[in-house]
């Protein structure tokens, strides 16, 4: 085992429970044996690390493997984003987009022909229903335009229109919105701490053995400098309490990452502080490289416009109706980060230019020394 041991892992039952909560919300089959359920669900999702499947069925051991499996799910399935999207309050204006799929092979050719005709008819009925939905949505949007507080959007959604007709439902909607807000806040909190989580997983990699996905994550999650607020015990406590609060209203796993950080802090006695031994210059270099990289990737990245899944229809007066997909939370965060990076770069550039101009002016003046900040 490694040097800095006594890394505290939560007990297997806790982890199994966590995995069950996580998996059960995505997969819908049941098994008598909970452990077997977790294993088969992981297999279903393509988790192929044999050590996990060799774990004893009495739940006596396996913290590390389970933790690894959980991290894998977190990374692989964009777990939290999926759950956020699922728990979003519906506007009622949603419709779904999907690419076309071809037919598969069958048996008797006459049966195929019949099936083809039937399928075609079903698809056409669906199409007609969709058209009707769009027409009616258009009516709602048209009639309510100009009434919304939001100047840019301008019209009501189906949910809002329904609320006008049945005001007594406002309490329910309010509750849903509040719960959604809390989830988003917890998610943002998690996003701040996420690099620490992955770093911790990577650090303890010797316990897990080689894991390719942990390596790839270093690149993804090291882009942000470590949040300095994790250095104090008091902050950890606050995180934990916040986590507790959220836990009451939210799925278990939003709480988990904060929990592990707390336990980490307690057991390893401030080891985290030592890990922030980056020298100041190294950090500066890293920061500037990161900024340049982000900027570059932003400029070079092709526009990925693969629309698939649920999206909200919004009324625009110029063209009849256009689709605005409100992207996942991670995408929004990343976009904002990129924008921040490019703005910072621009700022630096402007500062440079300023400095140069000042130097030029200073050269022209005798007896004046310019000290740049």
């Amino acid at each position: 085992m490694g040097q800095h041991k006594e890394v505290f892992y939560p007990l297997p039952p806790v982890l199994y429970q966590l995995l069950i909560n996580v998996l059960f919300s995505i997969v819908f089959f049941f098994s008598d044996n909970q452990i077997r359920f977790v294993k088969s669900a992981l297999w279903y999702h393509g988790y192929d690390r044999p050590e996990l499947y060799r774990l004893p069925s009495d739940g006596s051991a396996g913290s590390r493997e389970l933790l690894l499996a959980f991290s894998w799910l977190l990374h692989r399935l964009s777990l939290l984003e999926q759950l956020l999207a699922r728990n979003r309050v519906k506007t009622g204006d949603e419709t779904s987009v999907s690419p076309e799929y071809g037919l598969e092979d069958g048996v008797d050719v006459r049966y195929l022909q019949w099936l083809n005709g039937r399928l075609r008819f079903q698809w056409r009925s669906l199409h007609a229903q969709h058209q009707e939905l769009c027409k009616l949505l258009h009516k709602i949007h048209l009639f309510t335009s100009g009434s919304h507080m939001d100047q840019i959007l301008g019209h009501f959604s189906v949910t809002e229109t329904d609320l006008v007709r049945q005001p007594e439902n406002y309490k329910q909607l309010l509750q849903l919105l509040e719960s959604e807000t809390m989830q988003l806040e917890a998610f943002l909190e998690w996003k701040q701490l996420e690099p620490v989580y992955w770093q911790w997983m990577v650090m303890n990699q010797t316990d897990f053995g080689r894991c390719s996905f942990l390596d790839s994550n270093i690149a993804d999650h090291f882009q942000r400098p470590l949040p300095t607020k994790i250095s104090s015990k008091r902050d950890i406590l606050c995180c934990f309490l916040a986590g507790e609060l959220f836990y009451r209203n939210l799925p278990y796993f939003f709480f988990f990452p904060l929990f592990f950080l707390f336990s980490l802090q307690v057991k390893t006695g401030g080891e985290e502080l030592q890990k922030e031994g980056f020298s100041a210059t190294a950090r500066k270099i890293q920061e500037s490289v990161e900024l340049k990289l982000l900027d570059l990737t932003y400029l070079c990245a092709p526009k990925k416009n693969k629309m698939h899944g649920s999206c909200r229809l919004v009324f625009r007066s110029k063209h009849p109706a256009s689709k605005t997909g409100f992207g996942s939370a991670t995408e929004v965060i990343r976009e904002l980060q990129m924008r921040e990076a490019s703005l910072e770069r621009e700022l630096k550039q402007l500062r440079e230019e300023c400095r140069q101009r000042l130097d030029e002016i200073a050269e022209g003046l005798d007896g004046v020394i310019c000290i740049s900040p």
């Binding site: 019949w114 199409h127 009707e132």
Partner: protein
């Protein structure tokens, strides 16, 4: 969900009028033999399906009337308006003064392209009035020139303009000993073209209906009106709103969703898939109990074979072909039509 009807030619317009009449009188009749609530929801479903109730006092049929002669259309419009229960939209009509002379090529190659835009505009207007367009129902006869030729052309245009809509063609099969000498040519050309654009062909044979009038209804002097009314009654009962297959409490908005003997069905399709039943407690047109059966079977194999055979014999001696070639329908087009129909015949022959 709504259906837009396109009435084509003399036959199409007369039958169309009878169909709307039958539906409307059924809706307004008090012989529903069911509860008031039941009646009301039936009423609503029917109204949405066939009529448009905008600002006017009477419901307006969702229909476009097309003919190359003005007489039948004006008669149809005025008869409907006189009923007081419903009417057509006066603007939803298109007619000319020339007629088609029972020449399929005239209808298809001349009148069709010439008047395509105007006719499709009318159809588009009707389609836009519908909140949910279920599809199109065209009525035509196969034997004449307008209904058949222009009808085939219009069906093609409908398919091009509404690729995802359901198109049902109601086709009148002419009397075996009909008056139009080239009716078999017209029939063959109509069927082969409709096959490409239509989703379903619903056929009524004049001979069969005639028998119904004579033997079942004991009518002495059978007029076209009698025949048309029988057809209209059958169509009306087929289009009558019914419950969805699960037996729900409200009428299915979709018209087109326990005969279990396997010998009735083909080997490659089980009865569960092949047979669908729709029920309703509300009686149609004063019949206490009625059932309508629509089947896709080998029933039409014989008549079809008959018509194709006769047409082929005529074609072999090149009789009357010049009437068609002068309007742009060449011998190759005839051959293509024959080939297409032979394929249909063979598919139906090996159905079981």
């Amino acid at each position: 969900m709504s259906i837009v009807t396109v009435q084509l030619g003399q036959c199409g317009n007369q039958i169309g009028h009878e169909v709307f009449n039958a539906i409307c009188s059924d809706v307004h009749g008090t012989h529903g033999l069911c509860s008031k609530k039941e009646n009301e929801s039936y009423h609503d479903a029917c109204k949405e399906r066939f009529f448009c109730e905008e600002e006017s006092e009477v419901p307006i049929a969702r229909a476009v009337l097309v003919d190359m002669e003005p007489k039948v259309i004006s008669q149809t419009l005025s008869m409907a308006a006189r009923s007081g229960y419903w009417k057509y939209d006066d603007r939803s009509r298109f007619c000319q003064k020339q007629g088609s002379g029972n020449n399929w090529a005239n209808g298809y190659s001349v009148h069709g392209p010439r008047h395509k835009e105007v006719i499709m505009n009318l159809v588009q207007k009707e389609a836009e009035k519908c909140d949910r367009l279920g599809g199109f129902f065209t009525i035509m006869s196969m034997a004449g020139g307008t209904g058949s030729g222009l009808g085939a052309f219009v069906t093609q245009c409908l398919r091009d303009a509404f690729p995802t809509s359901f198109i049902l063609n109601h086709v009148i099969w002419p009397y075996g000993t009909g008056e139009v000498i080239v009716q078999n040519y017209n029939s063959v050309l109509t069927l082969s073209h409709l096959y490409q654009s239509s989703d379903a062909l619903l056929v009524h044979e004049n001979d069969v209906i005639h028998k119904i009038c004579a033997q079942l209804m004991n009518i002495k002097q059978i007029s076209f009106r009698d025949v048309n009314q029988v057809i209209a009654h059958q169509l009306g009962s087929v289009f009558q709103p019914t419950y969805t297959a699960e037996g729900g409490l409200h009428y299915s908005r979709n018209p087109l969703g326990s005969f279990r003997d396997p010998s009735l069905y083909t080997s490659w399709l089980n009865p569960r898939d092949a047979f669908n039943a729709w029920k309703t407690p509300r009686a149609f047109n004063k019949y206490e109990k009625s059932a309508s059966l629509v089947s896709n079977s080998q029933f039409l194999l014989k008549p079809l074979d008959n018509v194709v055979g006769k047409a082929w014999n005529m074609f072999a001696s090149k009789a009357y072909i010049h009437q068609y070639t002068k309007f742009g329908i060449e011998e190759e087009d005839f051959l293509d039509s024959f080939t297409a129909l032979e394929q249909v015949i063979s598919s139906y022959t090996i159905l079981c």
